[in-house]
Subunit: 269 residues, 2 copies
């Protein structure tokens, strides 16, 4: 369907290693060939690289693997289209501004009848995906609930977890959302995460012949969490999230989590 | 101060030639070394490439010159900071969503006391520039004036010309705004444009040793308008806009223009 990748770190960290693994799944080791995108936060600013062509063959994706952009929060997405044509306006991640911040969102899954039955009013989609429609609906609800003032992170993301559970009733809604400080993940049926900290070890990518010794690449106090649809390395133990589970990360650490009641789907879509 | 570059075309066209000239002014032939950005529209979607480092030395800028992205509307900006630190959130162009479209904006100039005296309410800046503040103020005013419905282009951009004239009273406000279809330019003191169509000729860049024969690069029916702070070629005749003049382009053609009353500034800032 699609694959998600995200990172939260306590020091600006590049995602070249993980992205090198993920991009192979966009037309090489995986079928997610209908575009890809990545959004890097640097302070309050963010920048995205996007292409509606397969990541495995994209010159822009190659630049991202070779040019180490250091960031404390990153969201990536590679797409296998099911709702909406293959085009730039349907390519994740989606970024919008609210409360003087950049909010970035990427979704894996499919929502049945969501666009048709759940209207949006204040935030209108540019493209035609169920994913962007759901993002706009979330922003509408945040405005109705909190008005002009952003609440503190735990209150905000507990509310977003409730919205995610409601959207999830329409199908499969694995989602990652960030404002560059907090990184929120909701698992519908398929999300894994790992936190790396001292003592660091080595890891090999599953999708490419690449080994990294994190000991050489990091400082003693670095804490880096990576979230992905499927584990990207073969010699580390990833946490598998359960359906309805959500996690909130900040500066690489898990700072809150919860479990929503969901009907388990019969298979990983 | 800063330099602007924009393009409107009736067929998807790359901007590699003009961008190659412009990027030299970011730390090489010009002093605009405090970041750069470019936004390409492809259909309703758009993608930006940005870097807070000088364009003349940016690997991402080099990619943009070498990877021909075909677009019908483009806005570029290279920055020489005067309001707001050199960082990603202060790097133009700025893109926000309204009426189900991506709106992109870039500004050249400086506004005195604008942030302090002209409040924004619905659209809050992420960064600290007078430029982004002015963009947010324009979006606020569009919402107050037109509500949920985007008016037709001439009514909309005539209204934006009036807003531009009001902002211009605070200093220098050369600006380019697009929704991917219409491309609007308001001249405070420094903007030039040229429309290329058959019979096409040759042109040489002022800022780099590069000659292009547009006859070889284009079709007979292609119409391409380029707008820039200063002419980019030495063997073509560019239209110099007068203070207070605005132009609206669509598919490469000038479709409307007007003249606002402004106090002429004593020098090109």
């Amino acid at each position: 369907m699609c694959e998600l990748l995200a990172m939260s770190a306590n020091v600006p960290t590049d995602i070249c290693f993980s992205f090198t693994g993920l991009m192979q799944r966009g037309g090489n080791t995986g079928p997610h060939k209908d575009g890809w995108g990545v959004t890097f936060y640097e302070g309050k600013g963010c920048r995205s690289f996007k292409d509606p062509m397969p990541s495995a063959h994209s010159p822009i994706a190659r630049l991202v693997t070779e040019y180490p952009i250091k960031s404390e929060a990153v969201i990536c997405h590679i797409r296998q289209a099911n709702s909406g044509a293959v085009c730039l306006e349907n390519t994740h991640p989606f970024t919008r501004q609210m409360w003087g911040k950049n909010w970035t969102y990427a979704h894996n899954g499919q929502l049945k009848d969501f666009i048709e039955t759940v209207p949006v009013k204040l935030h209108l989609p540019v493209g035609t995906t169920d994913s962007e429609h759901a993002f706009c609906w979330i922003l509408d609800q945040l405005h109705y609930q909190f008005g002009d003032q952003q609440p503190e992170a735990c209150e905000l993301f507990t509310f977003i977890a409730g919205l995610s559970e409601r959207i999830n009733q329409y199908g499969v809604f694995n989602v990652i959302i960030t404002d560059g400080e907090s990184l929120f993940a909701f698992c519908s049926n398929n999300l894994h995460w790992i936190t790396r900290r001292a003592p660091f070890g080595r890891a090999s990518l599953i999708d490419a012949e690449m080994l990294v010794d994190f000991q050489q690449e990091t400082g003693d106090r670095d804490i880096v969490t990576v979230i992905a649809t499927q584990p990207l390395t073969e010699d580390e133990t990833w946490h598998k999230m359960s359906p309805g589970q959500w996690q909130l990360f900040c500066l690489g650490e898990s700072i809150a989590c919860g479990q929503m009641q969901v009907a388990e789907t019969s298979e990983a879509k």
